[in-house]
C-alpha cells in the first residue's frame, strides 16, 4: 500500500468515527471600521498606521507626481514593472521584462521598484498585488523601497473581498496582501522595519 493510500484510508476511517455535522459558516465583516470618515480615508489611516507611506495624486497629475517622488527618493537603481506606461518614469530606470535568471545580480541591488497594486483593503490598511507576465513576484519583495500605484476606485472592504476580487479572472500563481514594510519583533518584541522585504513602501493614490 502506498503512503497516499495508507494515509487516506486512516483518515477516512477516523472521519467515519466522528460524524461531525457540517454547519455553514460565513465570513462577515469582523473588524470595526471608522464610520465617521470615508472608506478611502479609513484605508489611508490604517495603511499609515501600518507604517506605509502615501502620496495623493490624480489621473491627470500622476506622471508628474511619480517623477517628483523619484526625485525625492533619488534611487541609484530604479526598476519598474511592465505595466508602467509613463515615459517620464521609464526614462529613469529599467523595466523588469527579462527573466530573473538574466537580471538576478541587478535585481538584488534595486533601491526603488515601481509597480501597480490591484486593490486596497479598507479594514486592515493593506494592499493586494498579484504576479503576471508583466509583473514579477519579486517586484514587491526585493527592493529597498517599493512604490505601488493604486486607483482610488479599487477599494474593497476586507481580506476575503480582496482575494476574491484579485482572483475573479483566475487565481494568479502568486497573490499577495501587503501591510507596509517588512518587519520583525523576534528580539525582545521590539519591532524593527526593513528585514528581507522592502524597508519603505509607498502607495501613490490616483
Amino acid at each position: 500500500m502506498s503512503s497516499k493510500e495508507e494515509i487516506l484510508s486512516k483518515v477516512a476511517q477516523a472521519v467515519s468515527f466522528h460524524h461531525i455535522e457540517h454547519k455553514s459558516t460565513h465570513f462577515s465583516k469582523p473588524v470595526i471600521v471608522d464610520e465617521q470618515i470615508s472608506p478611502l480615508d479609513d484605508f489611508i489611516k490604517r495603511w499609515e498606521a501600518n507604517m506605509g507611506k502615501l502620496m495623493k495624486s490624480s489621473k491627470e497629475t500622476l506622471e508628474e507626481d511619480l517623477i517628483k517622488l523619484l526625485n525625492q527618493l533619488e534611487p541609484k537603481s530604479f526598476f519598474y514593472s511592465g505595466d508602467i506606461s509613463f515615459d517620464g518614469v521609464k526614462n529613469r530606470g529599467t523595466c523588469y521584462d527579462k527573466s530573473v535568471e538574466e537580471l538576478r545580480t541587478e535585481l538584488f541591488n534595486i533601491d526603488v521598484f515601481m509597480l501597480e497594486a490591484c486593490c486596497a483593503v479598507r479594514d486592515l490598511g493593506i494592499i493586494g498585488v498579484k504576479s503576471s507576465p508583466t509583473s514579477g513576484r519579486l517586484a514587491s519583495l526585493i527592493p529597498d523601497t517599493c512604490i505601488f500605484l493604486l486607483e482610488k476606485e479599487k477599494l474593497v472592504a476586507n481580506m476575503l473581498e480582496a482575494v476574491e476580487y484579485m482572483s475573479k479572472d483566475g487565481l494568479a500563481t502568486n497573490t499577495l496582501l501587503i501591510a507596509g514594510p517588512s518587519r520583525t519583533a523576534d528580539i525582545e518584541l521590539q519591532t524593527v522595519f526593513g528585514v528581507h522585504g522592502p524597508r519603505e513602501t509607498w502607495v501613490v493614490l490616483f
Binding site: V15, L138, T184
Partner: protein, 481 residues
Amino acid sequence: MTDYSHDTYLHTLDEKLHDKQMRANLLSAMSTLRAGRKKLVEHNYHDWEVLRAKAHQVKLNSLGKLDELIVQFEENCTKNGMQVHFAKDANEANEIILKIAKEENTELILKGKSMASEEIGLNHFLKEKGVLAQETDLGEIIIQFIDEPPVHIVVPAIHKNRKQVGEIFHKYIKGAPLESEIPKLNAIARGYLREKFKGFKLGLSGVNFGIAKEGAIWLIENEGNGRMSTTACDVHVAICGIEKIVETFEDAAILNTMLAPSAVGAQITAYNNIIKGPRQASELDGPRKMHLILLDNHRSKMLGTKDFYLALSCIRCGTCLNHCPVYEKVGGHTYMATYPGPIGEVISPQIFGLDKVGYITDLCSLCGRCSEVCPVKIPLADLIRKLRAEQAFEGRNDIAGKADIKRHKGLDMCMRGFAYAASNPIIWRTTLKGINLGKNLAAPFGKMLPVLKDWMCCRSFPTLEGGLEAKLEKIEGVSCE
C-alpha cells in the same frame, strides 16, 4: 538521538526555573503579547467570541471531511503544476526532501519558518547527510547558531535578550561586529542572509492554510524571508500537515482573521502570500518547480481519537503559550519536544509518544486560561487532564506510545489504597483523625520523610484539616448525615 528521559526532563526543569535571565525575558515578552492581544480584541473587533465560534466551526467542518479535502487538494495542486508527495511519518518526509535536494544537486536549502520541519527533525537529518538547512527567520537563525530548539512557536528566540543575540551574531557570523542595538542586529542578519538569497536554488516553507478548492497554499509572515525562500529559488518545497487543509478561501480568511491578533496582537501580518504553483512559461520569476509534501505523522491517529482530534484545529498562533502561567516560568525547552506550552502538552505526546514525553502533562495547573483564549476553542485544559488519565491507564483512546508506558507500581498501590480508603466511611474518618493527631508530630520531620520531602523542598508543610466534619457539625443549621 533525542534524550527523553525523565531525569533529563527534571534536570532541564530545575535549570530553567533557576535561569533568572530567561525568566525575566519570558515574563516581559509574554506580558507584552497578552496585553497586545487583549487591547486589540477588546477594541477592534465586533464580537471576538462570535469569531472564535466561527473559526472553531470552520475547523470542525474541515476535519469532518478531511479525506475528501485531501483528495480535492491533491488533484487541484497537481493541476496547478505542483508535485504532490504523501509522507506517512517524519522519516518519509525527510527522505523525500533529501531526494529532492540530491536530484537538484544542491547541498543548501534556505528555510522559511516551519514548525512541521522542526517536528520531523529536518535540519538534523539533512546535516547528517551533508545538506545544510539554513534558517532564514531571525529568531530561528539565532537558535540555529547555538543549536537550540525553538522556545516558542511564534517567537523562537524570545528567551534571548539583545545583548545575548549580539554576542551570538558576533561569534557565529563572520565579520559581524559586537552590537546590542536591535536595528543594528537586524541589519547584520539582513546582510548575512542577503548574500545567501542571491544565489540559492532550493527553498522550503511550511503552510498555514491549504485551500482544497483552489489547489493553492496560503502563507503568512512579517520579515519577507518566507517569500524569499519560496520565490527567489529554482525549486520550492512546502511541507503541509494534513490538518492544515480547508475547503475555501472563505474558510482560510475566517481563520486568518484570528491568527495574527492571537499570536502577536496585530491585526494582520506584513505579508499574506498565496501560491498557486510554479512559474508559468510566460512569467518572469518564481520557482520553476514546486513540491508539496502532505504530512501525516500521527495526525490521522489523533483524528481517530474520541477527544484529542480537536487539537488538530490548532492554527499555531501560540497564544496558549503566551497565557500559560507555567510556560512563563519554565520556557519552551522544558517541554522536551517541538511544541511547547498547552498545545504541546496535548499534541507532543501523540506525535512523539506518550511513553517518551507524557510527563510534560505535569506542566499544567489546569487554570484553563489556554482554553479561554484559544482562537479555535480547543478545550486544552480538558484535553491535558484527559491525557493524564490516559497515562494512568484510565482512558480509552489509542495514543502513540501508550502501550510502552511502564506502570509505576508504587503509585498504582497508593492510588488503589486511596480509592479504598475514600470509599469506606469508617476508614476515611479514622484516617482523617489520624492526620489531625499526627500532623504536629510530622511537621518538624517533613523534609526527611518520603514523598513529603519532595513537596517541602520548595514549599512549607501543607495545611491539613482532618477535623473539618466535627467543625461543620457545630455550625448552627448544618446537618451532617
